[in-house]
C-alpha cells in the first residue's frame, strides 16, 4: 500500500526549501506547545495548591478521606513570621523575602493546638520538601512529612513512609536548657539511650538521607530559622 518509491524532486531538496520547511514546522510546533502550556497553567497551579493543602492537612492530622480538601483547609490559619524576631508580621508575599517564612496554625476551640512549619533542605540526591507539625508547646513533634524528594527508592525514600513518620510522634526538639537536640541517628536508637526523646531511627544504607533530615531540621529550627519564633511560643506569648 505504500507510495511508489519516493524520489524527492530537486525542488524539495534546495537549501531555501529546507529552511522554509524547518521554519514552518518549528513555528507550528512551538505555537502548539506554547498554547498548551498557557491554557493548562491555571489547572496545574490549582492542582499544585490543592496538593499542598492536602499535605498540610495530612501532617496536621486533619485529613479525612471523602471530604473536600478546600473546606477542611479553612480551619488552617497561615501566618507570616519574621524569622529574626520570631514575631508575626503582615506580609502578602513572604516567598520573595528570605527573612520571612510561613507557618500554618491549627486551632481547636480557639486555642492553638498545632503549628506546622514548612521545611526543606538537601538529602543525598535531591532537595527534600516537607512539613513538620508541632504541638502548641513548640517543642513536641506531632508529625513530619516529606511530600517531594528524589531519594533512592527502597533506601532513602524511608522518609516518606508512614512507619517512619510514626517514630517522630512525641519526640522533643529542645532539651531543658533550650539546646536543639533532635537528630536522625544512624540505624536504630539503642535501648536505654538517654537522648531517646530526641533521637529518631535512621536506615542503615541511607545514612546520608538521614543526615540531610537532621541538617535541615537543625537549620530550620535554629537561629537562622524558626528558633526565635519557637522560643516565643515556649515562653507562652502566642499572639
Amino acid at each position: 500500500m505504500s507510495d511508489p518509491v519516493k524520489e524527492p524532486g530537486p525542488r524539495t531538496e534546495t537549501v531555501a526549501r529546507t529552511l522554509l520547511v524547518a521554519f514552518l514546522v518549528s513555528l507550528l510546533c512551538s505555537s502548539l506547545v506554547a498554547s498548551a502550556a498557557v491554557l493548562l497553567k491555571p489547572r496545574q497551579v490549582a492542582n499544585a495548591l490543592l496538593d499542598m493543602r492536602r499535605n498540610i492537612l495530612d501532617v496536621a492530622g486533619l485529613l479525612q478521606p471523602e471530604s473536600d480538601v478546600n473546606e477542611l483547609y479553612e480551619g488552617i490559619e497561615p501566618r507570616v513570621v519574621d524569622l529574626a524576631t520570631g514575631a508575626y508580621v503582615e506580609d502578602t508575599d513572604p516567598e520573595s523575602n528570605p527573612e520571612r517564612a510561613l507557618v500554618y496554625l491549627v486551632r481547636r476551640d480557639g486555642a492553638l493546638s498545632k503549628i506546622i512549619l514548612p521545611v526543606s533542605g538537601y538529602g543525598l540526591w535531591s532537595t527534600l520538601h516537607g512539613f513538620l507539625a508541632l504541638q502548641a508547646d513548640g517543642n513536641t513533634v506531632a508529625d513530619i512529612t516529606f511530600y517531594a524528594h528524589g531519594e533512592t527508592p527502597g533506601l532513602g525514600d524511608f522518609i516518606s513512609k508512614p512507619a517512619w513518620r510514626e517514630l517522630w510522634r512525641d519526640k522533643r526538639l529542645f532539651d531543658q536548657s533550650g539546646n536543639l537536640k533532635i537528630e536522625v541517628v544512624k540505624g536504630r536508637v539503642p535501648a536505654g539511650d538517654p537522648l531517646a526523646d530526641y533521637h529518631v531511627d535512621g536506615v542503615s544504607g541511607a545514612t546520608l538521607t538521614g543526615n540531610g533530615v537532621t541538617k535541615l531540621l537543625q537549620h530550620w529550627l535554629g537561629e537562622q530559622g524558626y528558633g526565635p519564633y519557637l522560643r516565643n511560643l515556649q515562653r507562652g506569648d502566642e499572639s
Binding site: 500500500m1 524527492p8 514546522v25 518549528s26
Partner: protein, 220 residues
C-alpha cells in the same frame, strides 16, 4: 474498512507487536508497570502520540526534505509529547507524579520514531494514523499484561482494589516485593515473549551465530 487499514490497525497487536517482536519501548515498559493505573495513562499517552505523530509526518511527507526529515519528525513528536504531558499534569495530577519523567521520555521511545520514519513517511495519512493507533495498542496490550501481573503479585491489588488480601491486613496473601522492582518486569516481558513465540513460531528469529562443535583435532 479496507484490508490494508485493518492490517495497519490489527497487525501490530500480536503478529507484529512492537514490544514482543521488535523488542522496542522496553525502558518505559520496565519503569511504569509497577501498578496498573499509571500504565493505562502511559498507554493512552503513547497511543495518542504515535497516532498523531504518524498522521502529521504523513501529511508533510511530500514536502519534507530528506536531509532534515529525522529532526523534523523528532520536533513533531516532542511537541505532541509536551502537550500530552502538560495535559496529564493538569487533569490527572496524582498519576502525573508517578509517571514523572516517563511521559516526557516517550520522545525517545523507539516505537514512535520507528513508525514515523518506517511507515508514515511512505504512506497516506489515514493509514498512517491507523498504524500509529495499532502500534499504540500493541504496546498497550503488553504494558497492561505486565502491569496487571506486577500489581497483582506485588501488592495484591488491581487499580488499587484489593484482589488478594494481604497478610498485613489480615488476609492470606504474602506480597512478592520483587514484583515491584524493575527486574521483575524483565522476567514478565521475557515470559510473554516466550509465550507469544511458542504460539506463533514464525516470530522466532534465526540465530545470528551457529556454534560449531569443536573437535580436539581442530585446535591442534
Amino acid at each position: 474498512m479496507s484490508s490494508a487499514a485493518k492490517r495497519a490497525l490489527v497487525d501490530p497487536v500480536v503478529d507484529n507487536n512492537p514490544v514482543t517482536l521488535h523488542v522496542l519501548g522496553i525502558c518505559s515498559a520496565l519503569a511504569v508497570t509497577t501498578s496498573l493505573l499509571p500504565s493505562l495513562y502511559m498507554c493512552l499517552a503513547l497511543t495518542l502520540v504515535a497516532a498523531l505523530a504518524n498522521a502529521a509526518v504523513s501529511m508533510i511527507r511530500h514536502v519534507l526534505p530528506s536531509s532534515i526529515r529525522i529532526i523534523v519528525q523528532m520536533t513533531i513528536i516532542a511537541s505532541l509529547v509536551i502537550v500530552v504531558d502538560e495535559s496529564i499534569q493538569a487533569f490527572a495530577f496524582e498519576t502525573s507524579r508517578e509517571l514523572s519523567v516517563f511521559v516526557g521520555l516517550i520522545i525517545t521511545n523507539c516505537i514512535v520514531l520507528g513508525r514515523t520514519e518506517g511507515f508514515a513517511s511512505k504512506n497516506p495519512v489515514g493509514l498512517s494514523f491507523l498504524d500509529g493507533v495499532g502500534n499504540g495498542l500493541g504496546y498497550s496490550v503488553i504494558l497492561i499484561l505486565v502491569a496487571s501481573t506486577r500489581e497483582l503479585l506485588g501488592a495484591g491489588t488491581l487499580l488499587g482494589y484489593t484482589i488478594l488480601p494481604n497478610v498485613a491486613d489480615g488476609g492470606w496473601y504474602s506480597p512478592n516485593g520483587m514484583m515491584l522492582l524493575p527486574p521483575s518486569a524483565f522476567f514478565v516481558i521475557g515470559l510473554i515473549i516466550w509465550g507469544v513465540r511458542s504460539w506463533k513460531p514464525a516470530q522466532v528469529e534465526n540465530p545470528e551465530f551457529h556454534i560449531h562443535e569443536v573437535h580436539r583435532t581442530d585446535v591442534m
